[in-house]
């Protein structure tokens, strides 16, 4: 058993991006658009943290204010970008030709591959709460793709549910990587079994959990390696976890 790191919510990188001034073109929304971003790993100006974990390079806990705030159309290659909407509404536009609006529980997997652009916008009237996860691809310059799905918290209660990965009902990602979500009642214990030699990054969206013996509160996270069994105990009602399993 081995803990690579424990990252408390307040230790993450923090950026506050406004839609005026130097970022007026990059950040959509006017005149008072604000994006807040807590980064678990080094990202953009935040370079004093953890570089990544396995294939994960970005884990951003972001809030877009209403009024069209978000990121204007901008380019990507190669990265597989996933968004998990926690609240509000996210409108995603991409150069594959997709315009999609995602609400709480909805998520997408956008593989930029040989090249694509996207815009991420909150055109709703309340804040949009989104987790952005970027992972290295299994292959470079693959054809771009976009897939979306929905996590039904009520139907999946107290069950570790695979959202992305090689499981029935999950979105495929073409590599040994898996994203799961668990919404649990207080007091329940769950067992997560990473595939051989894989690591696990666990992030507390809501509530409180004890994971591999470490108590984690809201927006705390932990990474584990060399674990065949990871015990997860929900310590609060409606504890909500995002679990990313990656090769190391």
């Amino acid at each position: 058993m081995s803990v690579r790191f424990v990252l408390r919510a307040a230790e993450r990188g923090f950026s506050r991006l406004v839609s005026t001034g130097i970022n007026a073109t990059y950040v959509a929304g006017h005149p008072d658009g604000v994006i807040t971003r807590h980064s678990s790993f080094n990202f953009h100006e935040y370079q004093s943290g953890i570089p990544g974990f396995g294939n994960i390079r970005v884990f951003g806990d972001e809030v877009f204010s209403p009024g069209g705030t978000g990121y204007n159309m901008h380019p990507h290659h190669n990265f597989i970008i996933m968004a998990f909407v926690l609240g509000g509404a996210l409108t995603h536009v991409n150069t594959i030709g997709k315009v999609d609006t995602l609400k709480a529980g909805d998520y997408y997997v956008f593989s930029a591959g040989s090249g694509g652009k996207h815009a991420e916008l909150n055109i709703d009237r309340e804040d949009a709460h989104i987790i952005y996860l970027w992972v290295l691809p299994g292959l470079l310059l693959a054809p771009p793709s976009y897939l979306r799905n929905r996590f039904n918290a009520a139907a999946s209660a107290n069950r570790i549910t695979c959202l992305v990965g090689d499981e029935k009902g999950a979105l495929p990602i073409g590599q040994r990587l898996k994203v799961s979500r668990l919404v649990s009642d207080a007091g329940r214990t769950h067992l997560y079994r990473p595939a051989s030699a894989n690591g696990l990054y666990a992030f507390v969206l809501e509530g409180e959990a004890e994971i591999a013996g470490t108590v984690l509160r809201r927006r705390d996270s932990i990474s584990l390696e060399k674990e065949e069994r990871v015990d997860i105990v929900a310590l609060a009602a409606d504890t909500d976890l995002l679990l990313v399993e990656t090769k190391l």
Binding site: N42, H76, H77, N78, F79, S114, G138, L140, L141
Partner: protein, 63 residues
């Protein structure tokens, strides 16, 4: 010959291919690209690239 990925946007640089359209000849080593060079797509500095050992997709046309 190595490959490097921009951590800002995912743009990839392949030493074998260079970037002739940006004035970098095929075969140019990463170490020989100036330190003030930035990602042609997103402006991320050279220091924000990571060496990767990821094969190309069979459908890729990296040249």
């Amino acid at each position: 010959m190595k490959k490097y990925l921009c951590l800002g946007c995912g743009f990839s640089y392949d030493e074998a291919l260079g970037l002739p359209e940006h004035g970098i000849a095929p075969g140019t080593r990463w170490a020989d690209i100036p330190d003030n060079w930035v990602c042609p797509d997103c402006g991320t500095p050279k220091s924000g690239f990571e060496m990767v050992e990821i094969p190309y997709s069979s459908e890729a046309r990296p040249a």
